[in-house]
């Protein structure tokens, strides 16, 4: 019954929420891009960049919250680059996205090495401290897990609501959704399709970079190569799992993080009969299964991957 006791453990729930945070940022970011009809495979690289620049900002003596902003700005710059190719020139979103990931990752590693030559053990910074919300954090188990977290985690949860509100309740959100369904419908109403798409991709990329930054300035206190470790790709799958809805994106991110947290704990407590790689694999297997179940009736934004060209027949 050890397995079930785990779910009564505050540490387990706190870890789940902590591990979900970068996924929430990334998934929301990808969701915004895709709602506007642009697949952003640059996510993995943009998260890497966000992780590094935020950490570097703090390491150079900058403030933590400013570091978050700096990461977002760098993400938006890569988003702008992505739009230049995929929105304005109408090039393949797949190829552009992979290119952005490779470019962003390589540039990040390169600058890291340039700025810190000859460093073998990654230097450390002082990351965000957990903030216990008064009263709420005193609720047994759930309150202690939910309300004693990094400020960035609270930000991620708040952003889920904000993104949902903007998408469904504001004219801008309507334009974003419409441009992902039928760009021509937006064009004929006198709105610039390119600008809406570019704005969405930039904002979405900013979210992704903050997701990366969370890893270096909140969970860990250093920047490592390969630390994003496929989280970006998981976010792409989570967007489909979420059927392009922010609320479900949160759910998906939590589920995946929970699998990951279970995996770590089971790995520690189980016998050596089963190789540890098997447990590492579990969250991915579960996410594939969940995808199969959920995405069968997923309604893609109709204009996803479809470039729009003004003034063409």
């Amino acid at each position: 019954m050890e397995f079930f006791e785990m779910f009564l453990n505050i540490g387990f729930w706190a870890a789940t929420i902590r591990m979900a945070t970068p996924l929430i940022f990334g998934t929301l970011g990808e969701l915004i891009c895709e709602r506007a009809g642009v697949l952003n495979l640059g996510i993995e690289g943009i998260m890497t960049t966000g992780a590094m620049v935020a950490w570097m900002w703090v390491y150079q003596g900058g403030d933590l919250w400013t570091a978050v902003l700096v990461a977002a700005v760098f993400g938006m710059l890569f988003g702008l680059l992505h739009s230049a190719f995929s929105v304005y020139m109408g090039l393949s979103q797949h190829v552009t996205g992979i290119g952005i990931t490779m470019l962003a990752t390589a540039l990040t590693y390169y600058s890291f090495r340039m700025m810190l030559p000859g460093v073998t053990t990654p230097p450390k910074i002082v990351p965000f401290e957990n903030y216990a919300v008064p009263f709420l954090s005193e609720i047994p188990v759930l309150g202690q897990a939910l309300f004693n977290q990094s400020p960035l985690t609270y930000l991620a949860f708040i952003l889920v609501g904000v993104v949902a509100y903007v998408l469904y309740r504001t004219p801008m959100g309507l334009a974003v959704r419409m441009v992902g369904e039928n760009p021509m419908a937006v064009e004929v109403q006198g709105i610039d399709v390119y600008r809406v798409r570019t704005a969405a991709v930039m904002v979405g990329s900013g979210f992704m970079a903050v997701g990366g930054a969370f890893l270096t300035i909140s969970v860990f206190d250093a920047f490592y190569f390969d630390m994003i470790n496929g989280r970006g790709w998981i976010c792409i799958a989570l967007v489909i799992f979420a059927s392009w809805r922010p609320g479900k994106a949160l759910l998906g991110a939590m589920l995946f993080a929970a699998f990951d947290a279970i995996q770590i704990r089971v790995q520690q407590s189980s016998s050596t009969l089963i190789p540890y790689q098997f447990y590492l694999m579990m969250p991915y297997v579960f996410s594939i299964l969940a995808l199969i179940v959920m995405s069968r009736k997923a309604a893609y934004p109709k204009a996803l991957l479809v470039p729009f060209r003004r003034g063409q027949r």
């Binding site: 004219p171 801008m172 334009a175 419409m178 039928n182 419908a185 109403q189 006198g190 709105i191 003034g311």
Partner: protein, 516 residues
């Protein structure tokens, strides 16, 4: 229509618009004007430049030369926002709606500042309701577009323009997708709008409806304005001649007695992914007979076409070809059984654009001993074969090695027709064979189908153009929700009657029995 007794007020004037796409001059120095409360019909064949001209007025394209004035003010920027702000609205031929969003969302997009933090949904709803009542455009604001019929979608498009305060409405081929009844309803709405002082540009190539609704007529041919006169001075013959550039003689259907049965479809049901495409249909085709299939697009015509092409296998029922029951359904067997096929979309299913004419001509029989031996293509024989067909079918602008993509629609269709007809098939499936063709090319296609009928072939003709169907077919069958009506004698049935069937009248019992 509007009782404007005073001096007519010009609301839109177009001065010397020229637009080039590469070497093609789509619009050549076109000038005309539109008066308040009037309908200007813009006529012309496919490719004459009508849509291009309207897209310039609405700001989709930038004109290379010329200017446009609306209510005395010049349109400066070339984008839809500028046109909308001057009171121009456009209903595009291909609807510009987002299927997964609601009617309200589609209409209100762009009417509120993008940066505002809320949408005033209640006010928008009230305004839509008011407009809908005023112009008789009934539609439910919270429905998703994908759940609407074609006619309703068009109403949403019109409401979109009215919501933005359009005073000039451009309608690009608005009746192309409507049943005759829906078209009548549209005309009633248009009359309401004219009475309220709106002005309309109406693009069409159907002469009948133009004569009924227009005040003035402008005819485009090859990008030039070749005629512009009040409807009172026009006749069908004059307009047709202006559109085509020469008098056209339409081939007439001569009476023939139907011969033996070629094709018998009995009780066929076909499905795709659990969704019934064909529901218990029966159809028989005889020698010397053309059967026309009518219906609003998407009511099973595609599935019927796929069935005869061997692309769909029925789950129930039987198909008998020349007395032989079919057990296997695949394209090569169908060809071997003598079914000639002219597919619906010549670019997608009919031809391989990057291949040459000669290659496209042998696509169905490259394995034939005439064209290949021991796995090697016999190029000289293939070229000779192509040369023969190019002459026989008058395929213009083509040599055997011309890439088929570079041919005009009419000539590409002739290549497909040549391939389908050269082996004298007994059963011919022609799915939308004249869509997008000019009158000359369409007439050629009609002649070929009549020739095939005369030599004893049977033709299944699928078309959305009722005029074409009734003039070519001996019998007409209407398809609705995957069901077929009884065959009707083409000489005894009117377009109106077909329209009623197309909108589902008389199918409810059949549908219920299929569901049970």
């Amino acid at each position: 229509m509007g009782a404007a007794l005073s001096e007519p007020e010009t609301v839109l004037s177009v001065n010397g618009i020229t637009k080039r796409f590469g070497s093609l001059v789509a619009n050549d120095a076109i000038s005309f004007s539109l008066n308040k409360g009037k309908v200007l019909a813009l006529l012309g064949e496919n490719g004459a430049g009508k849509t291009t001209l309207m897209n310039i007025i609405f700001g989709h394209y930038m004109a290379d030369e010329g200017s446009i004035e609306v209510f005395g003010k010049a349109l400066r920027a070339s984008n839809p926002a500028e046109a909308i702000s001057h009171g121009v609205g456009m209903v595009h031929q291909h609807f510009t709606l987002a299927d997964n969003l609601t009617v309200l969302e589609n209409i209100t997009l762009g009417t509120e500042p993008l940066w505002s933090v809320t949408r005033d949904i209640a006010a928008a709803k009230a305004k839509i309701q008011k407009l809908a009542e005023e112009f008789g455009l009934k539609v439910e604001p919270d429905t998703q577009i994908k759940d609407l019929s074609v006619g309703e979608k068009q109403r949403v498009e019109i409401l979109k323009a009215l919501y933005r305060g359009a005073k000039i409405l451009i309608l690009d081929e608005p009746t192309a997708v409507l049943t005759p009844q829906e078209a009548d309803q549209l005309f009633a709405t248009l009359k309401d709008m004219l009475a309220k002082g709106l002005s309309v540009i109406f693009i069409s190539h159907k002469l009948g409806e133009v004569m009924a609704i227009a005040d003035d007529i402008a005819v485009l041919r090859h990008g030039k304005l070749v005629a512009n006169f009040p409807v009172s001075e026009a006749s069908r013959e004059i307009i047709a001649e202006k559109m085509v550039g020469e008098a056209v003689e339409k081939p007439e259907r001569v009476k023939m007695t139907a011969g033996e049965t070629l094709l018998a479809i009995e009780g066929v049901t076909a499905q795709e992914g659990g969704h019934a495409l064909l529901k218990n249909i029966s159809l028989s085709l005889h020698r010397h007979q053309i059967i026309g299939i009518a219906g609003v697009s998407g009511n099973g015509q595609g599935a019927l076409s796929d069935l005869l092409a061997g692309l769909v296998t029925p789950v129930k029922g039987s198909v008998t070809l020349k007395g032989e029951g079919l057990t296997r359904f695949n394209p090569s067997d169908m060809i071997a059984h003598g079914v000639g096929r002219v597919p619906e979309d010549r670019h997608v299913e009919g031809a391989v654009g990057e291949f040459s004419v000669e290659e496209n001509l042998i696509l169905e029989e490259y394995n034939d001993s005439r064209f290949s031996k021991f796995g090697w293509l016999n190029m000289s024989s293939i070229t000779k074969h192509a040369k023969g067909l190019i002459t026989a079918f008058d395929i213009r602008g083509a040599a055997p090695d011309t890439m088929i993509r570079s041919l005009s629609g009419g000539n590409m269709q002739k290549v497909i027709l040549a391939r389908a007809l050269e082996n004298k098939p007994d059963v011919i499936l022609a799915n939308q064979p004249t869509r997008g063709l000019d009158v000359g090319a369409a007439t050629f296609v009609h002649e070929q189908l009549f020739k095939a009928r005369a030599r004893g072939a049977g033709v299944v003709l699928i078309s959305e153009d009722l005029e074409e169907l009734l003039s070519l077919s001996d019998k007409v069958v209407v398809m609705y929700h995957g069901m077929c009506s009884q065959p009707l004698d083409a000489d005894d049935v009117t377009q109106q009657q077909l329209g009623l069937l197309m909108s589902g009248e008389g199918f409810s019992e059949m549908e219920a029995s299929h569901a049970a």
